[in-house]
Amino acid sequence: MKRLFGFLAVLMVMSLVLGACGTPAAPATDAPVAEAPVTEKKTILNVWSFTNEILTMAVAFEKSHPNVDVVYTMIPMTNGEYQTKLLATLGTADVPDVVALEAAFVKSYVESDFLADIGDLQKYADELKMYPFVYEVGMADGVHKAYAYQATPGALFYRRSLAKEYFGTDDPVEIQELLGDFDKYIAAAEVIKEKSGGNTYMVSSNGDFQNLFFANREQPWVVDGKLTVDPMVEKMVETVKIFRDNGYEARATQWQEGWFAGMNDTLTDAAGNPKKIFSYFLPTWGLPYVLYPNSTSSDGASTTKGDWAVIEGPLPYQWGGTWLGVMKETKNMDLAKEFIRFCTLDEENLTNWATGVYTNEYLKAIDPTVPEDQYQAAGDFVGSQVVVEKITASFDESEMSAFLGGQNSYGGFAAAAPSVNARLMQGSDDAIQRALNDPLNSFLEGTITQDEMWTLWKDAVRNEFPDLVIE
């Protein structure tokens, strides 16, 4: 009996120790709530995002709203952590007030019951003449649920020196004329192939332009709960097949070395023969973050800086972007809305954001704890036509404009943006389009027929969307 008692005592001590492990956490979770009212009387606004970008806005917001403490949480989405965390918190007491939503999944949230109606902000959007596709993405059944500060229209970048060589001109207006639709683009690809003896490819990867066809469909993927294939999708398959069969594409993979190597003219095939890429389809952010840094080879020996130009290309499209929405359960609805208005629909903030006002010093003056790497360089393309028109000229002399052989980088996107539309976008788009990728590649390789491709694709879609009607 004594032994048993001793044993119980040990168990109790153990549970106390374990209890102690749990307790430090408890005050920690309460701490911000408990401290804030006493010391500074600040209202807390919880913002979750998958990027560090919006932290810059959050700090700027605190400057104009000194009584607010924006608690910013960044969760990466490399392995789906962000999406999983967001899904897990839905319906619990732990939901944040404001969430950032990426292009691939923004629409499924907008279509769900979890985001609040923030339609009273639309009047600001109208005032600032937001590009319609930017707020269309944030709309479901006529209700506005998310807005974005940036617009991410896509464009076509091409090598000036190669354009001169094959078409006798590098003038963007003339080249746009030459590549103005996909039939022309295919014809031009043939010219390049012939004149270069097959050593210059029109495009690096066929994945570069599939988006363009999807963006220009006339019917959404799902019509009345039924999977629908728009003629534009069939046209895409046809075009991709032409590119593969005729060797117009370099067969690289997006985001892989071959794709990057073409940007700085160091692409060689496996045998060591040099190859060139004529054009890349990239959106606004692709210029400063993808094309520009990779335009010089890693050994510094080869560079294509100054040899690029930008045009609208064969079809309008958009790629990427970050939207902001308010969770329905928020206890600070007005503040959350004000935060979104400030970030996405405030002329001064958008101007500051795009013109490089938010330097690290600027942010540190507001909040000294901001990391050194936190700042917003000039050049992000914002969603308001009013702002774009006012600031475009200021980019005439920018680094990016020099990169584009003197062409105004901002102006290039301003020309492309108005024709983009996102009305057909649905939550299931991303999964449905990704499902087509593998069967399409098998079809291109000739291992399956086109009919088999469609069947495989429908099987894959059915697997992911049990409630979809698929014929």
Partner: protein
């Protein structure tokens, strides 16, 4: 009287586990089981019970059977060589006659791949074997290939890569486990056997194998469980959908695709999980049954 008391102590020893499980583990398990009978999606707050419909859908769907077949294939193909190498290494490392140097260092090195993050490993192998990658360069320039191959579009090669990476990441851990079991065997047993004139193979079959059988069962069963839930590498190596041609689509990727589709069909995903669970349990039961029978017989024979 003393014996009865012992029984009571048994309950006390296992009590923390049971309490811990009731507090932390029970809810998620029950939740998953319940969800598999619903059409619940994460994007909507309402749902209803639909009986066995999720399961009917699964078995009517060729993707599901493909996934099960792939999972088995990928697991068996990496588990068998993994056990082979691990056995060789642990026998050598624990052998008193060989007295190999630097056992700790070798073992550390073989365990290293397990510390690498799956996403970095997958990215590395993707780069190595991509169309413009170094493997193609090497093979074409040395004349072994006439022209570059899109390796990551070839089902057999992609499967081989997954098998290799899994083997590479896990054989070190299996070696450590086997060694832990083998070092628990007293050297005097082997000494006695050597005196009796037993050879290495005989000693392995007659002494080592029977004595490490419990740990062997552990390795077999956990590897089976891990194999049936294989996810990271096949998910990260290609497009996250088991391409090319669903060749590396595993059970868990299939589950993840349902779960991460735009609506988050967690009900349908749970159903996949439940079926995989039942399948694993049946096979594990078989392993226990087969190995335990023999174990008892040999124990009796020893007596």
């Amino acid at each position: 009287m003393l014996k009865l008391k012992h029984h009571q102590y048994g309950y006390l020893f296992v009590a923390p586990f049971i309490i811990g499980f009731l507090v932390f583990g029970l809810y998620p398990v029950v939740n998953t089981i319940v969800l598999s009978f619903t059409d619940r999606t994460l994007m909507s707050s309402s749902y209803s019970y639909i009986g066995l419909k999720n399961f009917q859908n699964l078995f009517a769907d060729s993707t599901f059977t493909t996934a099960i077949k792939n999972t088995w294939q990928l697991w068996l193909m990496n588990f068998i060589p993994q056990m082979g190498i691990a056995f060789l290494l642990s026998i050598w490392f624990t052998n008193n006659r060989l007295k190999l140097r630097g056992v700790g260092v070798w073992r550390m090195i073989f365990y290293m791949p397990n510390l690498m993050m799956a996403s970095a490993v997958a990215a590395l192998f993707f780069s190595l074997f991509s169309f413009y990658g170094p493997v193609n360069q090497f093979l074409v320039r040395s004349g072994l290939l006439a022209e570059a191959i899109d390796f990551l579009r070839k089902p057999a090669i992609v499967r081989g890569l997954v098998v290799f990476i899994q083997w590479w990441m896990w054989f070190g851990q299996t070696t450590i486990l086997l060694m832990a079991a083998m070092t628990a065997i007293s050297p005097s047993l082997y000494e006695a056997a050597v005196v009796d004139g037993a050879g290495t193979i005989q000693m392995f079959l007659k002494i080592t194998l029977p004595l490490i059988k419990p740990v062997l069962i552990y390795i077999l069963v956990t590897s089976l469980v891990g194999g049936m839930q294989m996810f990271d590498i096949p998910y990260l190596l290609t497009d996250g959908r088991g391409s090319p041609g669903n060749s590396i689509l595993t059970n868990t990727i299939n589950m993840y695709m349902k779960f991460h589709s735009s609506k988050g069909h967690i009900g349908a995903a749970s159903a996949v999980g439940l079926v995989v669970f039942v399948m694993t349990s049946v096979v594990a039961l078989l392993i226990f049954f087969l190995l335990r029978e023999k174990h008892d017989q040999s124990a009796e024979a020893d007596r």
